[in-house]
Every structure is written in structure tokens, then in C-alpha cells.
């Protein structure tokens, strides 16, 4: 009988498996960084983990506070700058990158800029950061989804997926052949993109999740792989790694917020004048 796991843990472990050994990997904070650390520790020891802040070849020892957090490791191999980190991606030296999802449409186009009107936003999201450039030039891009939304039409196109689907991305002449999102991984399943239509379809479903449960988030008629498989359940080693490395991910957003608030209150009380 192996360990029980949370859906966030399952997500991070599934993301980690998108990394192959010897690859150059650009990570962001949160799920991707935890996944990268897991991959490097357990099954891709020669992967080079890097971030757009210019820290290259890191072996993080605890979850990072931000994409420039060199406090998380004991040194790194190469300190480059942001300009060169992106032009290295532009030249094709990045095998895979990971992007979080705000809004996503069926062709893997992303909005992380704004919900509602650009000038008078209902919700002002962070913006592009590095996302638009990474999904343009990384050989593969894996989308990770904890809180985002599937929509028919984005309020703002921040990061280009397969645009209008089919060969529309290639036809622009702006992107390397074969680039674009290769998977979207949520707490419910793993989606991939049809090689011809470039429409997202459900490729794997996480154990215990029903198809209806997946479909209820998705406003279009989701296609499902004829050979739909179930995501492998994580090993104890994988679960243990994540709980040690990123316990706040294991806790999940709500519990983490509650525990932190309580702990901070306790700490404040101890010292308050």
C-alpha cells in the first residue's frame, strides 16, 4: 500500500515527467520549479535547470520565492543576464519551458494580462513576464494549470499557442517549426494537441477524476483521446520529495494561506508591544 497524495502533488509529479534527461529546461516558480527540482533529483539528473533571471544550472534545495531566487540553492554554474537568457531561447537552446495559465483557449493561446477591459480591468493579472517569448521559441512548452480558466475567447492574447489552430502558427513564419504548447497539465488530467488541427484534447485523466468533472470546466466540446489512459499514481519517493521540498504545494492554496495567517498571528503576538 503506497502513500496517498493530493491533486496538487499529482499535478507537479505529472509535470516533472515532461522533462527528459539531458534537456535544457526553463522553469518558473510554483509548480514548474517543484517539478523541475523533482525531475533533477529523481529521473533527469543531467537536465540543466535555468531561469530567465539568468541563473543557469541550479539544483534547488527548497521551493523558490521568485524566478531570481538564488537563495534556494548552493551556487549555480553560470550567471548570464536576462537578455542573453532569452536570446539563447531564440536560438533554440531551450528544450522545454513551463508556463502557468490564466485564461487558455482550445489552441493553447494564453492570457495572463487582464480579465475584462485592458484600460479598466475587472482583474489585472501579472502580464507577460517571459511567457510570450518562451512559448514562441522553446522547442516545447508545457502549460500548468491550478487556478486558470478554459475560455472560448481570450480577453487578451498574451502568449501565442497555435493561434487559430491548424497550420496558422507555422504560417505566420514567426516561430520555429514544431514549437508551441505540447501539453496542458491540470489537477484533473493531461491535455495534448492534435497534430493536424492543433486542438487540445484530453490525453490522460488523473485517477479518481471523472470525464464529466473534466468537461464541466471547458466551454467547448472537448475531444478525448480514443486511447485515454489514466495517469500513473505517484510513488512514495515522488510524494516525499515534494512534501520536503515544497510543503506549501502539498498543503494546497487554501490550507497554506490559513496556516500562514495563523502562524504569523502567533509570531506577531509573541513580540507585539
Amino acid at each position: 500500500m503506497s502513500k496517498s497524495y493530493t491533486l496538487d502533488e499529482l499535478l507537479a509529479i505529472a509535470v516533472a515527467k515532461e522533462i527528459n534527461d539531458y534537456e535544457n529546461v526553463v522553469l518558473g516558480v510554483g509548480v514548474p520549479m517543484t517539478a523541475g527540482a523533482l525531475a533533477k533529483a529523481l529521473f533527469a539528473p543531467h537536465a540543466t535547470l535555468m531561469m530567465e533571471s539568468g541563473i543557469v544550472d541550479i539544483r534547488p534545495l527548497l521551493s523558490l520565492n521568485n524566478i531570481a531566487d538564488a537563495h534556494s540553492c548552493k551556487g549555480f554554474s553560470y550567471a548570464t543576464d536576462l537578455f542573453s537568457a532569452f536570446t539563447a531561447t531564440y536560438r533554440g537552446f531551450v528544450d522545454v519551458c513551463f508556463l502557468g495559465v490564466g485564461q487558455v483557449d482550445k489552441y493553447g493561446n494564453l492570457n495572463t494580462t487582464v480579465i475584462g477591459d485592458y484600460d479598466k480591468p475587472t482583474l489585472r493579472l501579472p502580464g507577460s513576464g517571459g511567457a510570450a517569448d518562451f512559448i514562441s521559441y522553446s522547442k516545447r512548452t508545457v502549460l500548468t494549470m491550478r487556478g486558470g480558466t478554459f475560455v472560448d475567447k481570450l480577453d487578451y492574447l498574451t502568449s501565442p499557442g497555435y493561434l487559430e489552430g491548424g497550420d496558422s502558427r507555422d504560417k505566420t513564419g514567426l516561430f520555429p517549426k514544431g514549437s508551441g504548447p505540447s501539453a496542458l497539465i491540470s489537477t484533473k488530467g493531461i491535455f495534448r494537441f492534435d497534430p493536424v488541427t492543433k486542438e487540445m484534447y484530453l490525453s490522460q485523466i488523473h485517477p479518481g477524476v471523472s470525464l464529466e468533472n473534466v468537461r464541466k470546466d471547458i466551454p467547448w466540446d472537448l475531444k478525448v483521446a480514443p486511447d485515454l489512459t489514466e495517469t500513473m499514481r505517484p510513488t512514495d519517493e515522488e510524494i516525499d520529495f515534494i512534501r520536503d521540498f515544497a510543503p506549501e504545494l502539498s498543503a494546497g492554496r487554501q490550507l497554506a494561506v490559513e496556516l500562514r495567517a495563523a502562524y504569523q498571528m502567533e509570531k506577531s503576538r509573541l513580540h507585539c508591544v
Binding site: S53, N66, A68, A79, F83, D119, P126, S136, G147
Partner: protein, 349 residues
Amino acid sequence: MGEVNSKVMRAKEAVARFVQDGDELVIGNYTVGSCAELVYEIIRQNKKGFTLYSQSGIFDVEVLVAGGCVDRLVSTYVMRSGGKKGGSAVERALNAGTLQIEDYTNFDYNARLVAGMHGFSYMQVLEGVMATDLFRKRGFMGEDKFRVIRCPYTGKDTVTVPAANPDVCVIHVQRADEFGNAQYWGAMGSVAAAALASKKIIVSCEEIVDHEIIQSSPHLTIIPAYRVNAVVEIPWGAHPTEVLGYYNLDYFMYNGLFSSAAATADGLKEWMEEWVYECPDRPSYIEHYIRKFGTAALDEIKAKPLYSAPANYGSAFHSRWDRNGKERSMGVTRVQLENLLKEKGKLYE
């Protein structure tokens, strides 16, 4: 390198002398180790009307916007406290119509400063952006946000951004010397470009160190002395953000107190009242922090040492004359040389 010591001053003086209302102001730091105290001092001096450049708008952008200092923001990333239900000073100012924003990708933003740093009028960027609303949606820069030209060699369209040369850069680094040579290490991001593109530079640092320390490790210097207008020694100058080798992010203050507060306008106002306006300088701020939360909270985040392996900058010798007083390549002593010059009639009276 400017008059000796004339560049060393307090934050109050540096901001008063070198930051003007209406400036294009750039935050030199990138995501980590922001120049918190310089930003707070700008807010306390009630400077206004900035066009603010920030690669990654974190709490520094939030407080500057909430402080009413910013008319226009050029950025790639803004923070939001409290998730979907929360908010941000930027969002509130956009909705109030008091702030205009221009959104770039990380690369495009940085490319504007790299162009400015090198004295170029534009820089080519990565053409993928043409497929996005970043390219299509123009803010206050209008047509100049991006322009397309043709590569003179391949004939392909190239997207460009215009150079940025902000009036003044504020930046916090690990160490500097009294002349202004500023050393920074860790995640380089766009830090050097932001500083070097700017017309004036205010450097704050954890420590002012001997010039000899700088000269022994020139590869860590990101701004040469001759570019720097003011050097301000501010221990804990980045708190609540982190400085590699000095202290970690203060999670309690940043992700806790600040983030809880910043989700609402009133919360942020109250937080700023306590931590920005009522602390006239960094020592007062730290004293207030310790009085309120004890010293342990700071002790906990102080960095332990993990030193770089040295690089040897040594040479075999530092004189043309060997230990026998002979010139190393010619094999004569100084006296012999002078006699030879005399003999050959090379000397003029």
C-alpha cells in the same frame, strides 16, 4: 572618478538632489533585492509625475503607485495580492484613471534598456510578439511601442523597440566603494542595463567596502564609478526583499503583512503609514521592526557564509626590474641604461 568621497551621502540627500518630479525613473533591481529604502525615501519626499520603468513590478511598484508618485508605468509583470479576490494598487489606479500602463514582454522591456545602455536608438526584439495583443494593443507609446523594419541581409521583417534612457535609476547592491563602483551578484536579470541606460544613478548598498576589495574582484562590478552620482550605505536596504549573501526574503513581512495589506487600498495606506511615512530612514524602520517583532525575526533570515572560490588575478612580477636590478628584457641596470643613452648621444639637457 569624481571628487573623493563626494558621492557618499544619505538617502535623503541623494533623492533630493537627483530625483525630480516628472522624471523617467527606473527601478534597477529585478524581482529580488529591490531598493526598498530608496523607493520609500522617494515616496516620503512626495515626488510625483513619474514614468516608472520596472522589469518586474513587485512591492516597490505597488507602493510607488499607491503613494501617488506614478503617472505612467512601463512593465512586464505586476503583482496582485490576495489572488482573484484581492487586488493591487496598479489595478486600482488603472480603474481610477490615474495611471497609464504599457505592457511589454520581459525581453522587449529589457531590450529598450539595452538599446539605451549602448547608445542605440532602437533594438531588435523577438518577432513572435507580433502574434500577440502585446504588439497589437498600444498604450501611451502609441505607434512607437513597436516598429517593424526589414533586415538588410535576409529581407525578413524585424520587430524593434525604441531605446529607453531613464532620467534616474535607483538600485540596491551588495557592496560598493566610496567612488561608486557597485558590485552585485546572484540573478543578473536586467540590473546592469537598467542602471547603465540611465542618465543618473543612485546606488544603495549593504556595505561600502575598501576600493581594494573592488579591485580584487572586478568581475562583480556592474556599474563603474564614473557613472554613479550617489552612493548610500544602507544595511537592510532591501528589506523585506532579499540580498544574496546578506539576508533572505522576509516571508513574514512580505508574503504576510505586506500582501495582506496590499489587497485593499485602505490596507495598503495603513501599511505605508506605519512602514514608509512614519519611519524617516532605514535605521528607524529597522528599530520599529525590532521593537514590534523582536530581533529573532531578523536574525532568522541573516545569511550564512557560502563563499566563492577565489580567482587568481596575480602576475609573475610588478616591476620591469628584476631582483638584481636588471631590466627584465634588456638585461641592463638603470645606471647602465643611462650611461648607454649618454654614450649614444640620446640625452638632451
